[in-house]
């Protein structure tokens, strides 16, 4: 029930999604830009999770300056990997 996506490189973000969490969406974020962009990053994460119908997940994020579309993509990939359905669906 755990999926990981992204890389520890500039403009990217490392995402670890644990779908065994049952207490809603929880986000732990490490980012140099956390003070300025923390809320924006969290918003992108929640939006991506919602698009995939995820209501409970523990996200651990390490941000390296990723734009919103990159954050959403990495979150979606991590969720799909956690579900184990990379290409089956």
């Amino acid at each position: 029930m755990i999926g990981v996506a992204g890389r520890d490189k500039a403009d990217d973000i490392l995402v670890r999604a644990d779908l065994s969490e049952k207490k809603g969406i929880r986000i732990e974020l490490k980012s140099k830009n956390k003070i300025v962009f923390g809320k924006s990053i969290e918003s992108a994460v929640k939006e991506a999770a919602k698009e995939l119908g995820v209501e409970n997940c523990d996200f651990q994020l390490e941000d390296f300056g990723a734009l919103d579309f990159v954050i959403k993509a990495r979150v979606k990939t991590a969720i799909k990997r956690a579900r184990g359905n990379n290409d089956e669906q």
């Binding site: 996506a5 992204g6 500039a10 403009d11 990217d12 990723a66 734009l67 919103d68 579309f69 990159v70 959403k72 993509a73 990495r74 979606k76 990939t77 799909k80 990997r81 990379n86 290409d87």
Partner: protein, 293 residues
């Protein structure tokens, strides 16, 4: 008759590189190809697809024509690539390893289904067929004319030379027939033709020579694997002002003749007919693309 759309340069960018997904338009290529195929490791295919889909929904690529190079439909990733991309709003797909018209029609049928599923205008998603094998070269015209979605065919020399068992680095003559066949087939079909990549980035002289050959053979443009190659191709594909001025005289004379109902005209003492006007329009299009008029 050649397609009027300017496709001098197709810049390849790996779709799993976040930075390239938003910086690639600044290099000024006419087209960008985001690659889900060879440039992406097997274990990252899903991540690259998600990244490209989110980029397509978000990034404004302006006038740059964006293609997605999918994995071949016979692979485990191909159909999932197409479905995700259509939902994300892709406009153009490059299909690798095209060998017959049936390869194109398989994608065409899948696009028909997905356009209906995602409420996308029917037939609006276009196809570039990549020809990368001897069999594909032999069938270039049927690939180019397989359906109305096909806007371009391209040549991939790396796989072609591997299939033929010749050395890519020393095979100028070995590629001559294949390149000519593809340029001719595209022209006859009225679609663009895109020449192969030149992988040796340290050999700019070789790249220039191959690009000049591509232009002489009639290719609409050349694939680029580095932003530095883009300007070089554009320079080679930029007509000189003598050609441009002559072409503009031809176009004006043809327009005037059409208005007056005159059949055959002459410009600078030479007869002008439909192919000459078509060539003139192509030169003016290249000049506009280069920003010299």
């Amino acid at each position: 008759m050649m397609s009027n759309r300017l496709r001098r340069t197709m810049l390849f960018c790996p779709a799993n590189d976040p930075k390239m997904l938003f910086t690639s338009p600044i290099y000024g290529s006419d087209c960008i190809i985001f690659d889900l195929e060879d440039a992406v490791a097997y274990s990252e295919k899903d991540a690259a697809r998600d990244l490209l889909c989110e980029a397509l929904k978000t990034v404004d690529y302006g006038k740059t024509e964006v293609f997605a190079r999918i994995n071949a439909l016979y692979t485990e990733f191909g159909r999932a690539d197409v479905e995700a991309l259509v939902e994300a709003g892709v406009k153009n797909i490059r299909l690798p390893m095209c060998e017959t018209k049936e390869n194109i029609l398989e994608l065409h049928d899948l696009l028909n289904e997905l356009e209906e599923k995602f409420n996308v205008e029917k037939g609006s998603i276009k196809i570039q067929g990549a020809i990368e094998t001897p069999k594909g070269v032999m069938n270039a015209y049927e690939i180019a004319t397989a359906c109305d979605r096909v806007v371009a065919i391209s040549f991939g020399a790396e796989d072609f030379t591997r299939s033929l068992g010749i050395d890519r680095e020393k095979c100028g003559k070995g590629l001559f027939y294949a390149r000519s066949q593809i340029a001719l087939a595209a022209s006859a079909a009225g679609v663009s033709s895109i020449d192969t990549v030149y992988a040796n980035l340290d050999d700019m002289e070789g790249f220039i020579e191959e690009t000049k050959e591509a232009k002489e053979l009639g290719f609409s443009g050349k694939s680029c694997i580095h932003p530095l190659q883009v300007k070089t191709v554009h320079k080679i594909y930029t007509p000189n002002m003598v050609e441009v001025e002559k072409s503009m005289r031809i176009i004006n004379a043809a327009k005037e003749a059409e208005e007056k109902g005159i059949g055959v005209i002459t410009v600078d003492g030479k007869m002008v007919d439909y192919p000459v006007v078509g060539k003139a329009e192509r030169i003016v299009s290249l000049a506009k693309g280069a920003g010299i008029i």
